[in-house]
Assembly symmetry: C2
């Protein structure tokens, strides 16, 4: 028998209980149409021939590294370097897709973006005086890592144009006045989860200027860039990063599949010791990774590597088919909302140009009570946005995800949402 007060506090925190409660409601209504999961579309997750991609990557190892076929295959079965084995392909893809000039040695391949976030926060937040700024509403993954590491969070509200930079500047001053400092900011500039907002090019430049002025590190999460319409140019913060303060986090869960658990971090910052010697931050993250998970499965890296090679070593090309599907879904969700809810009093929603998520504001609290009624009386599920808010706001908001559904389900689901909304109007 163990005592809970002797177990790390993060593991019995209220946020976990909210998530459990959400999952519990979902599990009781398996037949409901669910706008809750931000998971990839099931239609993209069939007929995957793993041996095929593995062999494609093995061929690459033969050509690019001069390995014998058997040695190349063994490389995927054995232990491997903590930094990863497909770092060269990721480096090439980032150059091809965004013109980024990052060496393969600056890339660490991780167990999804989640491990990348964990490693980066662990490395950077050495002092309890270091505080992490995040946009609110915020992706829960970064909050989880911060909680495990006892890192204090300061929430920065989002405007329609993404992060509210004036509030960020204020927060920097306030935190400094309290004897602590904002060490880093986590931001997803493209079609953020959960709000769907995107930062304009101007806002990105301003953010980087502010980061330079206030000595902030920027953790950029680029998960949803691949869903942008053709012509809607995605310029990563990392591409505008003249003073090298941006650490880029990436994932293959969306463009390839979540089941591979492969993500990456680009950390090309030099870390200087008191003795003047320098180490690349990526090397330190790889060392930390060796103590958390040793290395990312080389088999899974081989699958991702094979897929990249089949798509001209471009993450954008690899995500083209799925990106098109998600854009179609998102457009259909917006059209359905327009048809079903336009003119309904005090019901509004944003109009993201990509990503999986739309934020809908209701005239009543979008809480667990409403969710329960939504599920039981109308057969439709969604996520209360308050789960992602850190400043007590967002009570009347729901997050709708378009990613997991068919067009028909989206349409029928929004009809049901319409019934729910009208039922609370009276």
């Amino acid at each position: 028998m163990l005592r809970r007060e002797e177990i790390h506090g993060a593991l019995s925190a209220p946020a976990l209980e909210s998530m459990n409660f959400l999952n519990e409601i979902m599990s009781r209504y398996p037949a409901a149409i669910s706008f809750a999961p931000g998971a990839p579309n099931p239609s993209l997750m069939t007929g995957l021939d793993l041996n095929h991609y593995i062999e494609r990557y093995v061929e690459h190892l033969e050509t690019a590294r001069g390995l014998e076929r058997d040695a190349a295959r063994r490389l995927l079965c054995e232990y491997g370097p903590s930094r990863g084995i497909i770092n060269d392909l990721v480096s090439q893809a980032l150059h091809r897709d965004y013109g980024l000039d990052v060496a393969a040695t600056s890339v660490v391949i991780t167990v999804g973006t989640q491990e990348a976030m964990f490693l980066v926060l662990h490395a950077l937040f050495a002092s309890p005086a270091d505080v992490l700024a995040v946009a609110t509403p915020c992706y829960v993954g970064i909050l989880g890592s911060a909680k495990l590491l006892n890192i204090s969070i300061v929430p920065i509200p989002e405007s329609a144009d993404g992060l509210d930079l004036r509030r960020l500047a204020e927060a920097v001053r306030e935190v400094r006045a309290s004897g602590r400092r904002i060490r880093a900011l986590y931001v997803a500039p493209d079609f953020a989860n959960p709000s769907g907002t995107t930062m304009s090019l101007e806002a990105r430049r301003e953010l980087l200027q502010l980061a330079e002025r206030e000595d902030l590190i920027v953790l950029e999460d680029g998960a949803y860039g691949f869903t942008a319409e053709p012509g809607f140019e995605i310029v990563p913060l990392k591409a505008l990063d003249v003073s090298n303060r941006v650490i880029l986090l990436g994932t293959f869960s969306k463009v390839c599949m979540p089941g591979v658990r492969v993500g990456f971090v680009v950390a090309d910052q030099a870390v200087r010791g008191a003795d003047g010697t320098e180490v690349l931050l990526a090397n330190m993250l790889a060392a930390a990774k060796s103590m958390v998970s040793v290395n990312t499965s080389p088999i899974c890296q081989g699958i991702v590597g094979g897929m990249l090679l089949e798509h001209g070593v471009s993450i954008a090309a690899l995500g083209e088919t799925s990106g098109k599907l998600y854009r179609q879904n998102l457009l259909h969700l917006l059209e359905s909302l327009d048809r079903e809810l336009s003119g309904v009093k005090d019901v509004t929603w944003n109009r993201p140009k990509g990503g999986f998520f739309i934020r809908v504001t209701l005239p009543v609290p979008a809480d667990f009570e409403l969710l329960e009624r939504s599920a039981s009386a109308f057969g439709v599920l969604w996520t209360p946005m308050s789960l992602f808010h850190l400043d007590g706001s967002g009570d009347n908001e729901m997050r709708l995800s378009c990613s997991y559904l068919t067009l028909g389900q989206i349409e029928a689901g929004v009809e049901r949402l319409g019934q729910l909304v009208r039922s609370v109007q009276t």
Copy 2:
């Protein structure tokens, strides 16, 4: 530019530099015969047909869980529960192999044993007053996790019969007298890495009695049990654990392959809150895992699951072929040492009954200087045992691993060791 004093101290620790130095020497002598790597034998890592094992596991999902084939395949591609998906098979295997009675819900599937160690230490060591006891010489993986988490270590010397229990009891009292406590003990009772020692059944019982008396949690690492000779019965501490203080850590890296990065932890302890409610420790570890890596690749779990199913859901049966190879290698290493080094003054070694490792003691320091000479003049590599010692001892010891070599390489390698040893005799 970042400053090293603002980065977590674990990432520039001396232990890492020793390991880097070791790797650097190795990399300069690629043609040397190396007794250093504890990695699985290359001959076992070829011709693996991943689709085959995946399909075997998919069939199981159809039969055991009533899933449609497409839904079963999708399960491997998508996100999944943080606790894992092959927990039922691991539970069955532990029952079949060792008579353990642990529910599937007490098992968490992890990214190798490394993540299991990390999660367990993170959960259990909530207070800086909590100290971890480890056998010295010690497996570096547990030391890495402890370092990342700023956990203090107290080293307990090994006797020929494994852990020195008298010293453990003393350490418990000493640490308590200093106002702290030994919260848990990490121990690998079967053919430990790096020393090769094994605890007798009697020593296991005594250890558990001591743990009960002193309220210690025992972290049991069972990585090498599968290499035991037929007839050499392995009784896990967990099987003798009447007061439920043992947390069992396991890996598929050795019986399956490292490239899958699949391990597990059995944590069937109840955690009681101040309000009297109880949660299973495994649930808390799964919650922590959701913030570190979300889940272990379901593709890799499917490969391991398929392999287990093809071997009667038995880890012992799955490891039979490789276990036989390693026993043959170990025996050949012992015979070669007997032939080459018997009677050489002040050179001794232990005689493990299984595992990958032998400890050789020399009359001179087995340090980096000797290793460099060993590599350059004699073409043979090994690991200085001092890297694994925490109490400043082990200077004259080397660790020899038999796992990665052929019988011919073992023989030739020991001849070269003989030349080295004779060269320092004069």
